[in-house]
């Protein structure tokens, strides 16, 4: 009898005051999710003090309601990640006040489906397309035989000098790609530099030591170096054992490379790749043995360490320009021109953004947020 009275009480309660419950397919997701939203303003404006919200779910063709749980009173969104795609669901919200009174509001049915495009990333897509079009255009010009001037980069010009110095002193060259795995673009760029360095080492018959932190990088480096020795016409001078895997432990690697430096005293140290805290340990040890040191990395924090401890440092994009610069490949050089054009576009956008923010239109910059 009490339950019947309570049910009648719930049915006669006004639902118009608290409403706006909407259920819809969660946008930009892989499916199996429905989002329920409601307006909390009427709750706050109401004289009754609401203390909890309960949420229930029912399949449209079904009969019983499933409890999904309680929601904090201030929340206005519930995401149900446990639904089947293509099945209609209705959601019920029960708002209970401090006296035990409740208001029930049902949503319209909603179905979940997977999306093929995340519309919140449209801005990224536009950026990617601009990059592809600009770089693609300059690749095309490079393929057509266009000439691209690259300003002299001291760090790259010094590689010849560094290899020559090692040859004169009869000491080896030590090359390190740091802690990056082969998936990192900085490591791929490092392999390109290695190819040029190995070619020169082969020509001058100078031993090239390359201790590795990653076995995949070690295997790739062996292949790259061998090809360079073949290209230089001296495959007989290639020593596979000089390019070897050490350990994947960060400080174990630093200790081992330091040991090699102190014992073998290389005349030239080349640090090209992704580095972490071991950068300064390596560069300072190299400095203490008097080796000429050239570093290039995409790790901005480590750049400052390399700058104080090395003779030459390739900063930022200079490092990625190294392969084209050293190999004089017009296709690679053409992409540098494309990078410059993209930098110009970014510069213009930055100026426009600064003007916009200064003029009070900063909200417009929300289009740059990535979803």
């Amino acid at each position: 009898m009490i339950a019947l009275c309570f049910a009648i009480f719930l049915l006669i309660l006004p639902t118009a005051a608290i409403g706006g419950v909407r259920a819809f397919d969660t946008p930009d997701d892989g499916g199996n999710s429905i989002t329920v939203v409601w307006d909390t303003e009427p709750l706050r404006a109401s004289q009754a003090e609401y203390v909890r919200i309960e949420i229930q779910r029912r399949v449209v063709s079904g009969s019983g309601w499933d409890d999904l749980g309680k929601i904090p009173i201030d929340d206005s969104v519930y995401v149900d990640d446990n639904v089947e795609n293509g099945v209609g669901y209705t959601y019920r919200l029960i708002f209970t006040d401090v006296s035990g009174g409740a208001i029930i509001v049902d949503s319209e049915p909603a179905k979940s489906s997977p999306q093929l495009f995340n519309s919140r990333r449209t801005n990224v897509l536009i950026g990617v397309l601009i990059c592809i079009v600009v770089l693609g255009y300059y690749f095309y010009r490079g393929r057509k035989g266009g000439f691209f001037y690259v300003r002299p980069i001291a760090g790259l010009q010094a590689i010849d000098e560094a290899v020559g110095r090692a040859t004169e002193l009869g000491k080896p060259i030590l090359y390190s790609a740091g802690r990056g795995s082969m998936q990192r673009v900085a490591t791929i760029a490092s392999m390109n530099v290695l190819s040029s360095v190995a070619t020169k080492a082969a020509e001058y018959n100078t031993p090239l030591l390359f201790p590795n932190n990653d076995p995949v990088v070690a295997a790739v480096a062996q292949e790259v170096a061998y090809e360079a020795y073949v290209k230089a016409g001296h495959p007989d001078r290639y020593v596979a054992e000089n390019i070897f895997y050490l350990t994947d432990s960060q400080f174990g690697y630093a200790a081992a490379v330091d040991g090699i430096m102190v014992r073998q005293r290389p005349a030239t140290n080349l640090f090209m790749g992704s580095f972490e805290a071991e950068s300064l340990i390596l560069a300072e040890t190299g400095n203490s043995i008097g080796a000429i040191q050239i570093a290039g990395t995409d790790s901005t924090i480590q750049l400052s360490f390399f700058i104080v401890a090395c003779d030459y440092v390739l900063i930022g994009e200079e490092y990625f320009a190294a392969s084209g610069y050293l190999a004089k490949d017009p296709l690679v050089l053409s992409s540098l021109k494309g990078q410059d054009m993209l930098k110009l576009i970014l510069g213009i956008l930055l100026i426009l953004g600064a003007i916009l923010v200064t003029a009070g239109g900063g909200e417009l910059l929300s289009v740059l947020e990535i979803g």
């Binding site: 892989g30 499916g31 997977p114 999306q115 093929l116 495009f117 995340n118 990333r121 990224v124 990617v128 990059c131 770089l135 795995s181 082969m182 998936q183 673009v185 791929i188 760029a189 390109n192 590795n212 076995p215 995949v216 070690a218 295997a219 790739v220 062996q222 292949e223 790259v224 090809e227 073949v230 054992e241 070897f244 895997y245 400080f251 174990g252 200790a255 040991g259 014992r263 805290a277 300064l280 340990i281 300072e284 995409d298 901005t300 700058i307 104080v308 900063i315 930022g316 994009e317 490092y319 990625f320 320009a321 392969s323 296709l331 690679v332 992409s335 540098l336 990078q339 993209l342 930098k343």
Partner: protein, 207 residues
């Protein structure tokens, strides 16, 4: 063909990795996760190759005539053997020989190497901050302000020092850093595109 096939695989997977960022569909996510799993599987196998490479390298030195290098290579080979035997035959859990060796030999050695960093930072900072020319003096003054701004005595000297330190870090330093970030990002995009399109193929090597 032995060069075309890897380039084709690189193009297909590179394009997929680019496209999947925009596709939230479960099929795309599942394929992406499968690729990441395969990277781990390949890495696990490559560790075996790496271990063999390491043993071969040090076996050559240990049996060679280089007296300077030989003791270290023998030590490494002994270390590998001891850890291998301890791990394979006596387990790797807490209280085992393997665990004891890791906790009492390897971990302290790694900590020691990390600790050396503080001395290297000091020597590098000394060299970097020497007032050789006007630019170095500028750097030295900025460094002194930032260092003082980060310790309590800076606040005691003047309340402006921490504010000046924050300004140096948040305005000129940040501007320079962002310039480098933009250069690195564009370099990364251009290099990735060169690799995907097969323009950059040095990493393939070849025998």
């Amino acid at each position: 063909m032995h060069r075309k096939l890897p380039l084709l695989i690189c193009f297909a997977l590179g394009t997929f990795m680019l496209v999947q960022f925009f596709v939230p569909h479960k099929a795309s996510t599942a394929l992406y996760e499968a690729i990441l799993d395969w990277v781990q599987i390949i890495y696990a196998f490559s560790l075996l190759v790496g271990a063999m490479m390491l043993i071969k390298h040090h076996a050559v030195i240990a049996s060679g005539r280089d007296a300077k290098e030989r003791p270290f290579s023998i030590l490494i080979l002994m270390g590998i053997t001891v850890m291998l035997v301890a791990g394979l035959f006596f387990g790797r859990g807490e209280g085992t020989v393997f665990h004891w060796l890791f906790q009492n030999v390897q971990a302290p050695m790694q900590a020691t190497m990390f600790s050396l960093l503080s001395f290297f930072v000091a020597s590098a900072a000394y060299r970097g901050f020497r007032a050789r020319n006007s630019q170095a003096i500028f750097l030295l003054v900025a460094a002194i302000i930032v260092m003082l701004g980060r310790i309590p005595v800076g606040e005691i000297i003047s309340s402006y020092i921490p504010k000046a330190a924050d300004w140096i870090l948040n305005v000129p330093s940040m501007a320079a850093r962002r310039g480098i970030y933009i250069g690195i990002a564009l370099g990364t995009i251009a290099t990735s595109l060169r690799v995907i399109l097969g323009i950059e193929r040095t990493y393939l090597g070849g025998k």
